[in-house]
Amino acid sequence: MSTVPTTTNTSLPVVAATVVQPSKMPVVALVGNPNSGKTSVFNRLTGLRAHTANFAGTTVEHRRGRVPLVGQTAELIDLPGLYSLDASTPDERVARDIIAGTGPTRPDLLMLVVDATNLERNLFLTSQVLEAARQADMATVVALNMFDEVDKHGVTIDVAQLARDVGCPVIPISARTGQGLPELRRSLSELLTTPAAPQVDTQCNCGGCGGCSYSQRYDWAESVARRVAGEPSVTLGRTTERIDRVLTHKVVGLLAFAAVMFVTFWLIYSLATYPMDWIEQLTGWSAELLGRWLPAGDLRSLLADGIVGGVGGVLVFLPQICILFFMLALLEDSGYLARAAFVMDRLMRRVGLPGKAFVPMLSAHACAIPAIMATRVIDDRRDRLATILVLPLITCSARVPVYALVIALLFANNPLMAATVFTGAYALGIVAALVMAWLFKRTLLPGETRPLVIELPNYRLPSLRSALLQTIDRATVFVKNAGTTILLITVVLWAAATYPKTSVGDLPVAAQSEIAELQQSGDAAAADHLLAQYSLKRSVAGRIGQAIEPVFAPLGFDWKMSIGVVSSFAAREVIVSTLAVLYGLGEDGESDALTQRLRTTTNSSGGLVFTTATCLSLLVFYVLAMQCLPTQVVTKRETGSWGWAGFQFAYMTVLAYVAALITYQTASTFGLG
């Protein structure tokens, strides 16, 4: 079976071709129900030798990795989970095609993961897969997962009988304990050496009648399950039933969900502080080191300010993202996430979104990028699109530095008001997201929300190992993204803020003498900062900022803030460092010093620049504006078109502008200007 036709091999990802000859390494595809523990089996077999990839020509993500077998190594690919082969989502379609041998990659062997504690349901998919495998002449092995659980509940499964019924080898395993994995490896090796398609007739060949074939398949699944495992265990679902009485309760369930959310965010914001500090220190230290090693000039500025500063500014959010992914992996593995979608469904439907949209909304509080990726669980295309469009309105952690700056300006000595405004900014983001979702579902993406149908799997103790591996994998993707797309954006922005270059001689006479005076008084740092301030003003970014100042003037922004808006177009948190440069404090201006400087800055007519009205307007603008190019790249990837990414940018910018305008004008009217 290793003699794969070369025509199908051409569509394999190019990366594989660069390493070893890809046709030499046999491919094993992992198939199974969504809650069969497929991911844990994958993690057990591949460990750290796995990475996330896309199937060629699709946006469907999957994990692949190498598995050492007896005398050979195979590549394992984790197909998206399925309940049946009658696929409805793009992920399911790719999985179905691969199983049928017509997908973007043709496996040599199918490994079907079957949850031994949920035999009847898993056997339904099994019957479909076995038939598809037989038709495509593909060898198949069944990994009977969670076998240890079955024992605990006093059920005995006749493995030999099951193997006869499904017409292929059945290996009892436990991904949690590692039991049965050597046998599984051996069986994989044998089947790869002497492949044999399953020999079975599931008696479901009932022609074109869909309903009838479903019913026959379920009958087959039921009869096989009864034959090999006897009557279903009475104790198996009992704990789940007890827990669910609380967690799916109309009121208590919501409170429990709120508590879970609170703990997750508390962890994200408290635990992440330490590694975030380390990353910041490391960034500062590297920039300083570069500054010492390299001669002053464009290269040093590009490396130290542009690349290290820019990429470091994004990497600083890595700890939060890791904690988020880790928590989500644990919650999913435990079976709780299905309950979260269940209890939120009724509330979310009021704004036209399904309950499954809530977990992405939760993730968006850390970062919109993983949140947009998490919308893949939403069945309906319009529901998913509406969710993607509104996710960036939710306050992500990159907005926090901006909120902190503005709130420090407004209420430095009033913690109560500061906390209120902070909460208000978060609430504004959530309300805006819900209102816009409601609006989109009524206008642009009309249609009823797909009603909820969700399996509530038995609760399980989640596997820390598995969650950790998934987190590492996600983090790698994020770091790669920071190393490519974000790096490019950083360099472009650095260039826009640096060129054309300004030397002291280019400045007007008054400015020259100002700098000379500072130098004479021995304050070289202040002189440098002043030159940096003039340089930025004369750079491309500075000129754009000044040109568009009239546009932002009705919001109470001066030209410096307009430059800030332009320079933070790709990453919102950049406005803080831009303002630091523009107000003559240098890139790493102490935050207290910056606040002090901003608070006392006056305009040409002697009035304060950062009045309460301006601050509130700036805050509202940054709550609602897009200002994040990496998110846009992900929106494009997930929706398949720049059109939606462009629309997202346009509507959010208009919304932010109008809301900031109303805020500023209203506040000014009430004498806060």
Partner: protein, 87 residues
């Protein structure tokens, strides 16, 4: 297995604790397919675990949450009264 007068009710009206057999599914194509993939299709037995919106049924050995709006398009008749369940 005595069947007490197979009166048809929609799933959202079916009382918790009883076992039912699915008689017909009036949902649109996509939704019917999603229900079928979960085991809610004509001729299958299911039990209602919890009423409400969404409600919980036990079908093909696992618990499935279904929105009441969709459950209203699934018609079932009693297969087994509540008492018989706890044998």
């Amino acid at each position: 297995m005595s069947i007490p007068m197979p009166s048809t009710v929609s799933l959202d009206q079916a009382p918790a604790g009883s076992v039912f057999r699915v008689e017909r599914v009036d949902a649109d194509c996509d939704d019917a397919a999603r229900l079928k993939a979960m085991g809610v299709c004509v001729g299958r037995r299911l039990s209602v675990v919890q009423n409400g919106d969404p409600l919980i049924v036990c079908v093909v050995g696992s618990r499935v949450g279904i929105s009441a709006r969709l459950a209203a398009s699934v018609f079932v008749h009693v297969d087994c009264a509540p008492m018989a369940k706890a044998s």
